[in-house]
Structures are given as C-alpha cells and as structure tokens.
Amino acid sequence: MKITILKNKFSKGLSIVEKITGRNFTLPILENVSISSEESTLRLSTTDLEIGISYWIMAKIEEKGKITIPVKPLSNFVSLINEEQINMETKENTLFLKGEFYKTQIKGLSADDFPIIPEVSEDIWVEIDSKQFSQAILQVIDFCALTQTRLELSGIYLSFEKDQVKIVTTDSFRLAEKTIPVSAVSNDFNIQTLILPRNAARELVNIFSQEDGAMKLYLSPNQIMAEKRFPDSDKPCVRLVTRLIEGEYPNYKEVIPTGTKSKVLIKKEELSNQIKKASLFSGKSNEVAMDIESKKGEITFFSQNVDLGETKSKLKADIKGEEVEIRFNYKFLSEGINQINSKDVSIELNGSDGPGLIKPVGDSSFLYVIMPIKPS
C-alpha cells in the first residue's frame, strides 16, 4: 500500500474509530485499526465484536493494500504531526509514515486476521436528522437501567413509525420518552421497534452529533447500521454497526398516567434551585418532600438529615386540583427536570404514591414519568 493523505482528516478519522478499542487479552488484534485502501478512499475500521465502526477518507492511492496497526499509538502520533500531508507505505506488517522532517515506522498485524465487520441488509431504512437524533438520545440515555437482571431495560428502546420515532428509556423508577420526526423511510415501511445497547448509543452520539444533515439507519432483526454518506455521492463516509439487545421491551405506555389529580405549573429555574437547596439536607436516602398546597398556591419543600439538620422553603406556583404531600428521590427529580428545555415545567401528580408526569410547557415531544417514595 502506498498513499498520500491529509493529516487533519486522517487524525479526525482515527479519533472517531479509536473510542471503542481497548485492551483485549484474548484477541489483541482488537486493539488495532484496520487500514485498507479502496479506489479513491482509505477505510479505517475498528471493532470490539459488539460494535463495528468504519470511516472513509479521501486519499491519493498509488498502490492498494491493507494492514492493521495499534490504534492508540498511531492516533497519538498523527495528532502531533504538524505537516499538512502524510505519505504512508506498508512493507510486510509494518507501516511507514514519512514527511518532510520525520520518518516513522509502526509495527502492526496482518489484515487477514482482523474480524470482518458484518454488513446489514439495506432493504429497510429510515432517514433522520443526525444532530436531532443524537440530541434526543442524550436526553433519555441517563435513565437506562444499570442492572444486569433485566437486560431489555439496559438499552434504549426505539419505535420507528412512518413519520416519527419514539425513543424511550426506563430503569423502572422513572421513564423518559422523546419523540422526533423521521424525514424518510424505505418502501412498505411498517412499525419497527428495537433495543439499542447503551454503549452503542453513546458511540452513535459521539460520531453523529458532529455531522450536519441527515443520516440513515438500516434495520435488521439482530443488528442495525447507522450511516452517513459523502455529500453529493452515494459512498458511505462513516458507518456504525451494532448488535441489538434481544428481548421484548415492556409495554411502557401503560406506565404513562392518563389522568391527573393535581397539576402544577412552575418556572423550571426556580424549581431546580429549590430542589438543589433541599437536596443538601436530604442525607443518604436522597429524600425530598414536597407539600403541594393548591389553596395557597404554594409548594413547600422539606428535607432533613439526622446528622446535619433540616430545611424548609416555599415557592409560589400555579396549582390546580388536590392537595398532596409527596416525597421523591431528588436525583430522579432533578435529572428529569434537567432534560427539559422550556422555561416552564408542568408537573402532574396522582396522589402521594402514584406516578408523577413531568413535561415541558409548549412542547409535547418529551415526557418524564417518576415514581415517588412510599409515604410512611
């Protein structure tokens, strides 16, 4: 292989693919990036056998070939080069990098031993704005279950319809749902649902949140492929293939309360401040009590801690319906509120032991369901 490539592009490509590699004792080649030349592009690939990432860079190809190189040292080295172009050449299993003022060689392994990154059939696909999709995933990703006991809850549930996708996570104490539009789908598209592993979702966000424009998701029963193409070309520029979580996601819609006994409208900023204040005294249980007084139009926040002391504070709010005293884990509460992007927040409660529904005002695309702490 003999090629010339722009340093900045090469460096960016390496930084994208290197994230999923790590120490691997059983199969050291997984620490490597596979570099192979195609017609006019260079393809970089890495995998951890759950996720595979490929990235294509325009390059001047003089002689085709392929090799795998430990990605961390290569990436670190390339990022420190301060010349615009890099000349690369392979001999046996060694990569030679050459510039005006340097000459470097890195030992690698044969490309024949590198795992083949599986292909996903391109029959069923959806097209979606990559920034918006990444944003939406970020909004719900923190609410996945971290347990091993219910694997299906450890991932992100995606339910694609013709014109929208619902993105859902829950850890059985709270649940978040975000809905965003889908710009196009393949022919004869029916509702498609899948559970994306959390790690894969993080990688997906890392890669695609930086890209403008639309991305495509190719769906198949056990795996999906996320792809972005070169502008004005149908050649892929970056691809992420990941295994999906097997299993059936629970019927989460049952959880979203339909009625409401007390409804509160409140400024988001003020609410999170009060919760922060109360949380200082909440102790190990993370417990913060809220007394919703509809007649006075006031919420009283209360928390106490045997060792430290206690605090009580009040906040005016627009309250309709029943009075209720309810206790929450403040982390569950503030993490949900943090994901709300509107000035005002609507909180709908269903008694002191029923689920609460938190939504932004004037935006129906996000909702957050939270369970209180049992009143004693």
Partner: protein
C-alpha cells in the same frame, strides 16, 4: 454420534489447528442447532462470529466434518440469541431508599397482564390459607375441569392477588397453548364502558371469549354496576360452558356483596369458594423471613419475632413494618436491635395512635349502608335505619370504648339501656348470622384502614 458429540469432535480438532485466542473468540457459545439430511446449521452468538466462520473457517470445518465421515451437503451459520454480558458498568448505581416505588406496570406480561414476581415459590402457606392454596394447586394441574369457578375471598393485604397471579403465571408457564388473562374488575368495567360507548360490545365479548383462563380481581367493585354485571354474567356463562377456567377474588364472600345480582351470586357460589384468613404467628414469621430473604438484607430474629407478634392482621402491614426497619438500617448503616425496633415501630404498632373517632365510625357505617350521616340520628324506627344505628352503637362500644350513657346521648338523647340493647343484639347477631358477621368485619377493616 448425536449433534452435540459431533460438534465437540469438530471443536477438539479445530483447537489444534488455530491459535487459542482465535479459538476462544470465534468458537465460544457455538453449537450445531440442526442436522437434517446433510444440512447442518451451526448456531453462533453474533454476526461477527458468523462472518468469520463463514469466510475464514468454513473450509476447515467442512474438512473436519468429512473426516468424521459426516455427509455434508450444506453448511449454514445462524445467529441465535444468547444473552450477552455487557461490560461491567462504570456508572454508579443511584442510592435510593428502600421505599422507592417502582413503575409496577413494567413487570406485567404483555399478553396475560400478569406480574411475574408473583409465584407459588414465594407464597407462604399456613392454616389461614391452606384451602385456597390447595384449590389453586389443583387448578394448575387441570385448569377448567375442577373447581370452576374458583372464588377466593379474604381481607385486604392477605395475599389474594398473589394467589390469583401465581395460579395464572403457573398455567401460562405449563400450558403454552392456553390463553391466560388477568384483569382487575376496574379494568374490566372500563373496558365495558368503552365498548358500550364505541358500540363495540360484540367485539369486546369476542375478545374475552378467546381466553382459556380468565382471572378477575376484586370483584366486589361490580356491586351496583348493573350493566357490567349483566355483561359479565353472559361472558361467565359462555366461558363456563366451554370449560374455561374462571378465577375470581373479592374481599367478602358472594352472599355478602351487596347489590350483586342473584343470578351472578349463585354462579359464583356454584364452584369452589375458599377464604384466606389472617395469618397465625408461625405463618407471619415465615412471611417475614421470606421478605427479608427477597430483599437481600438481614434482620435479627428477635426483631422479626417482635414484628410477627405485634402486627397481626395483614401481610401488607407486616411488609410495611419490615420496610421501615430496613430503610432505617440502610440509612444509618447500623443493625436494628429489639429496643430500636420497638421505638421505630411504635407508631405503626400501637393502635391507639390510629385516628379512630366517632365521626369516622358514623361515616363508614353510613357509607356502608348507603345512608346519609344524618339518617343515623333520626328518631326513626324504620328497619333500614334501626340496624345501621345499632351497628354504629356497637362499634362505639367495642372499638371506641365509649360508655353506654355517652352512646345513648350521642344518638339523639336515647336512654343508656337502648345502647346496651343495641350492642347485645349485634353481638348475638354476629354469632348467628354469618352475613352480619361479614358486614361487621368489612366495616371494621375500613375503620382501621388508615
């Protein structure tokens, strides 16, 4: 050679020909999943393995199979679902109190509505629920043939729902082709109301007809809802004629459910009726031990004994008391001893702190007999009023320890002998009249419900 042995043989030969790293990466969790007329399908855990075996080792595997004199026409690789172990999470699990409530609906099975956490394994059997349990275990062996309908009754928090769901779960598990459905009566009623509104009552019935096992919880809420009762009656007959199993629970026996139509009542009584009473001391201890085990914590046996001795009526309260102690233990990282337990549970256990007063007794009695509170104080001798008034007097004497003259005075200046007569009459009545006894039990539970 069966397919398992065959694959073992293949693996042991491959092992010698490729590196250990490659072997353990690519051949881990593989197996022959089918072998028919030279058509072999190898199950692999993921698409990476599939690609690799297909593209790199296909020749090798074929050769070895041939050496083992296996005639192979076609070799195929297929991904089979094998639970994956995710890398150990680096995120810290959020600390939370033992009382944090969960979104229960997430545990429901989509097709049956059953919650998989209720099983027979964690159902404690004692003299108080022996009969119901025995009937339940008989039903799961042969649903629909014996004990149909099966009617379970008992007070709140004694395990009716647990038993019903366990029966449902077990049938669902053992008889794959039987359709099991669990409904709370509230859901059933909502279903009927919606069906009537959308004029789809026919579809509604058709849908319910398909179930082989229908479980309806808390059927006492049907009381007074005539249309729902009527629809349920027809549905009941349909299912019953087809030998479909029907399981029903209620907080009181059929004859004590007021405003339940006679024909429905007689249907309910036609099968097996079993009651669940209050657990005895041994059962309470066993329940506590089971709960402690489920929650994966430890509590001193003396403490458990104390709870079992003092919380007597209902299993849910037992759990509540236990949760309180566990929460305290977690919060303070200190074991709860007997003295401490007594202190912590003082409020829950000491019934004097429960706010039972005159007003509450009147309200509950009036509500129960669908009267207005004022009616109880009327100077009337109508039968509908006399009995409730006597019941109210009885409760004031028994539960509030009021004096007879005080009681008489409260009810419009009646003589204390009237109060004495009323209390005696009800006390005697309870012994003779089972229906009255049930009514008194239900009201008593309501009085102490909060």
């Amino acid at each position: 050679m069966d397919k398992q042995e065959l694959w073992q043989n293949v693996l042991s030969q491959i092992q010698l020909q490729i590196s250990q790293a490659n072997f353990s990466t690519w051949f881990k969790s593989t197996a022959i999943i089918s072998r028919q007329k030279g058509h072999i399908i190898v199950g692999v855990p993921n698409s990476f393995s599939r690609e690799w075996l297909e593209k790199k080792y296909n020749r090798l595997i074929l050769n070895i199979l041939e050496e083992l004199s296996e005639k192979v026409k076609h070799l195929e690789y297929k991904i089979v679902a094998i639970p994956v172990t995710q890398p150990v999470s680096v995120y810290k699990e959020i600390q939370s109190s033992a009382n944090q409530l969960e979104l229960e609906e997430l545990n429901l099975d989509k097709t049956t509505n059953l919650n998989s956490k209720y099983t027979f394994d964690n159902f404690i059997v004692g003299p108080f629920n022996e009969l119901a349990h025995a009937a339940g275990t008989a039903i799961i062996k042969n649903p629909g043939r014996i004990y149909n309908p099966f009617f379970v009754y008992g007070g709140v928090g004694l395990g009716k729902t647990h038993l019903l769901q366990a029966v449902g779960n077990k049938i669902h598990q053992d008889f794959k082709n039987k359709k099991v459905k669990y409904f709370s009566s509230e859901r059933f009623i909502t279903g009927i109301v919606n069906a009537i509104r959308n004029q789809s009552i026919h579809q509604f019935k058709e849908e319910y007809r398909q179930f082989d096992v229908l479980i309806i919880d808390d059927v006492q809420f049907f009381a007074g809802k005539e249309k729902s009762q009527e629809e349920f009656f027809h549905l009941f007959n349909l299912l019953y004629e087809d030998n479909k199993q029907i399981i029903i629970s209620s907080d009181r026996p059929p004859r004590a459910i007021s405003a339940l139509e006679e024909r429905l009542r007689s249907r309910f009584e036609g099968g097996m009726i079993a009651d669940i009473g209050s657990p005895d001391f041994e059962s309470r201890s066993a329940i506590l031990k089971q709960k402690v085990h489920d929650k994966k914590t430890l509590l001193d046996d003396l403490v458990l004994e104390y709870i079992a001795n003092n919380v007597q009526k209902n299993v849910r309260e037992l759990e509540g008391a236990l949760n309180r102690l566990i929460a305290w233990q977690e919060l303070n990282s200190q074991d709860v001893n007997l003295e401490l337990a007594k202190n912590l549970l003082r409020k829950t256990i000491n019934p004097k702190n429960k706010r039972v007063d005159f007003q509450k007794v009147i309200k509950i009695v009036a509500d129960f007999y669908s009267l207005d509170k004022k009616d109880l104080f009327l100077n009337s001798r109508k039968k509908e009023i006399v009995k409730p008034r006597q019941v109210a007097m009885y409760f004031m004497r028994k539960e509030l320890n009021s004096s007879y003259p005080f009681i008489g005075n409260k009810f419009g200046g009646k003589d204390h002998t009237t109060a004495i007569y009323a209390c005696e009459k009800i006390s005697q009545g309870i012994k003779k009249d089972e229906q009255l006894a049930e009514e008194i039990e239900v009201m008593k539970e309501k009085i102490y419900a909060y």
